[in-house]
Symmetry: C2
Subunit: 479 residues, 2 copies
């Protein structure tokens, strides 16, 4: 799709494809600019990129037909969920057909006995949890935004509860996927475990639409804990907070959430959410257990560890409304940061390191960031060793964007030197693509071989994660 001749026929091929899509979907296939524009970006700083057409299928069979049209006319496809991705995953950087899965939003079945559910890809996590009300079950993965389950699977998302309940890699039992040629496959089963061949479920989870379009997801659910308590605790310094986390994990306390926020983030939250938390490095905890005694035993353990590491008093939230207030403040952290600099654009990093290196990694990063020309805040899912620096950039300043990229480059180099990863949960899209060679080395050839095997024409969300050939033309990197 890069040779001149081929590119020159794109307008006719696209027109053919659009016409067939309209026959298939009627008004649910659109080339209207407003629709294309809405689908040109996620929630990140990466430049928007318009798809040529947008489809709103209602079934896996329709997605299969769309893929067949894409194949016949060699037009790229880009899957789209809630549009909350942050690495340009949904930006149509090579044009083509965006498949918006939001109208495939049925919860297909829930089994309280098996603690599982099957949903269409466009179901959002809040929608699913609303459906689960009164079942005693919940879907625990919480990346903050109300993402679609299909999008979360595609990105291998996680969030605040991963420390206890795992990531999407741990919580997807099976998928329905439409391949590049329109073939529909099922991966996995409803069995809790299987050794029956290659783990295709885990291959498609995190593949960001580059190997196929996920249309259904079978998920593990969890029983709602009988007892829950949350607390926050401010620390004299970051190191003490991180040491508390390491020791809490090591003792096997089954903490359900353990989040770090730096002093600047706490200040931003106080301003935005009208709170009066101490402006200091702070841990947010949540404990889940079988009864109040279990929860308070675990909490007491964490509290005593905190006290040994410069933690000040715990502020408890055991009532549901108090917990919600606390976690709402945490959820709003990003918006609170954006409000620090009205009109700014957020640029969010996402490294993850072994937790033994976390304090060092955070402190070196903060040292490196001294004197940056824009404000920034830190939040971390520290039980997993994952943290985000959010930079508040002037959207019109190329100098600030370049500075942000330089800081990110050094942060990723630091994380990789510590045996970590360039992205803990946000995925690659095209924002992180330039770090993959550095992170994976020759294993990238395996990813390329798989991409070639499943998408030989490079039509599936092209330009994201990996190109079929190593000697690809220079990629847009937003830089």
């Amino acid at each position: 799709m890069t040779t001149g001749d081929f590119a020159s026929t794109y307008p006719e091929r696209l027109e053919q494809a659009a016409s067939e899509l309209r026959s298939l979907l009627g008004a649910r296939a659109s080339t209207a600019m407003a629709v294309r524009d809405h689908h040109s970006h996620g929630e990140s700083y990466h430049p928007s990129a318009l798809p040529d057409a947008v489809c709103l299928p209602h079934s896996t069979a329709e997605v299969s037909e769309i893929l067949k049209i894409s194949a016949a006319h060699e037009v790229p496809v880009v899957p789209f969920g809630a549009g909350t991705s942050v690495e340009g995953q949904v930006n149509a950087i090579r044009g083509g057909i965006t498949i918006d899965l939001r109208e495939m939003n049925k919860v297909l079945r829930v089994s309280a006995q098996d603690l599982d559910a099957t949903v269409e890809a466009g179901v959002t996590r809040l929608q699913l949890n609303k459906t689960l009300a009164n079942t005693g079950l919940t879907f625990f993965i919480d990346p903050g935004a109300d993402c679609t389950i299909g999008g979360m699977a595609s990105t291998r998302a996680s969030g605040t509860t991963a420390v206890r309940y795992g990531t999407m890699a741990d919580n997807v039992l099976g998928l329905k996927v439409v391949l590049a040629d329109g073939t529909v496959i099922k991966t996995g089963s409803r069995a809790r475990k299987s050794s029956a061949g290659y783990d295709l479920t885990r291959l498609f989870v995190g593949s960001e639409g580059t190997l196929g379009v996920i249309t259904e997801v079978t998920l593990k659910l969890h029983p709602l804990p009988e007892a829950v308590a949350a607390a926050i605790c401010a620390f004299d310094d970051l190191r003490g907070a991180v040491e508390t986390v390491i020791e809490t994990m090591q003792l096997g306390a089954s903490v359900a959430r353990i989040e770090l926020l730096d002093d600047k983030q706490m200040d931003a939250i106080n301003r935005y959410s009208k709170m009066d938390y101490p402006v200091a490095p702070t841990l947010f905890f949540e404990f889940h257990g079988l009864n109040d005694q279990h929860v308070s035993d675990q909490a007491a353990l964490a509290q005593s560890l905190a006290e040994q590491h410069g933690g000040r008093e715990f502020q408890w939230a055991t009532r549901l409304e108090d917990r919600e207030k606390l976690w709402d403040a945490r959820h709003d952290a990003y918006y609170a940061s954006l409000a620090l600099r009205p009109g700014c654009k957020g640029f969010v990093t996402d490294i993850c390191v072994p937790i033994s290196r976390l304090a060092e990694c955070i402190l070196e990063t903060q040292e490196d960031n001294l004197g940056a020309s824009f404000p920034m805040t830190l939040v971390g899912h520290v039980g997993d060793g994952n943290f985000h620096m959010a930079y508040m950039l002037n959207p019109d300043s190329e100098a600030e964007l370049n500075e942000a990229h330089r800081l990110l480059d050094r942060m990723v180099t630091r994380a990789l030197a510590m045996d970590g990863t360039c992205t803990g949960e946000h995925g690659v899209g095209y924002g992180k693509i330039r770090y993959l060679e550095q992170e994976h080395g020759p294993a990238m050839d395996v990813m390329r071989a798989i991409k070639r095997a499943l998408d030989p024409d490079n039509r599936m969300n092209p330009g994201k994660i990996v190109e079929p050939q190593k000697a690809a033309t220079a990629l847009p990197t937003g830089r």
Copy 2:
């Protein structure tokens, strides 16, 4: 490797390869019959199949050289660990070079802070846990046998503790793998989670040497629980036992082991281990917690559920020696079954279904087995919906083997109709290969495409899991 011309040159190519292997490894490359014979089989009923040569490498670099020799002369390679596999995974059904990894048996590093370790593939799980003594950590996956960690990763093994601590898919953070052409790659990292591209770790876990040879494994460890209690409870019938399991899981009690044994298995254990357990369907439980109170709260919950479902009194084992006696009896279940029929050969099945279907699946299976001409016993990792029927066959009777296969065929069909899998933890090898099409349908084409992409010559443990082409010649199935 199937055309006549090519096959006719095999002896010369093999001699060349063997000569180069001797130059590389000296006495650690062998073509002696005793060595080949030892490496011709695992622990199953499948007919032995001799490799042509056996290598004992000491490093990943040596494995890489072996693969280069295999590539140059187009000779198959078969990885070999402890030889405990049960689906013919290590049988050299196309001949070639067996790579025995037992002398790559160093624990390379342990991090108590990060709860992880990196080991060479030939380290066994008991060896690892011995190394971990006094660290407060343990590697929890327990398939019974003292398998190598590399073998467990290759087979996606699990066992009694998977209900709480997961399978190898959940406990491997990263791998070192040697590819078909000798290229060495690293997958994953020591970060607890990552969204940085395709999940190659999970692709190689469970691939049984068909995509590459695993030489190093980075594993999650777990803190030893502060408090542990175990118990057994006999039930009036199987259904009551399984209902107890379902409700225990649903309440979120963090049971660490929950094992079902049928009356015949209990009888076998009593005879073999000189115990006097009731001869009735029985659950073995283990609870892990932060303190004795947690453990006893969970146990009390399970006990009250058991009482509602025809469970008789709990026999407790809280002291370490009593627990060990109980789990030794469970571990010896298979040998106890074999002792029911001296001189017999065991044939073990391994289906896994959603637990809501487990009672039905077991009862239908037992009904179907009535009148079988050989003794059989049942053990199940029932928290996961996984159970094994072990058939005690006369090794000289083809009629019994055929009868066992017919029972297995129907059991697999039953499991798949219930949204389950033909193998929960034993893997495919060539013993289960004929069920994969039935289980995965068109997804098998994706597995074949991946196999072709990574092993175009079909040299990597050929004839196991999947062939590169659909129209492969009939495979040996042990039938």
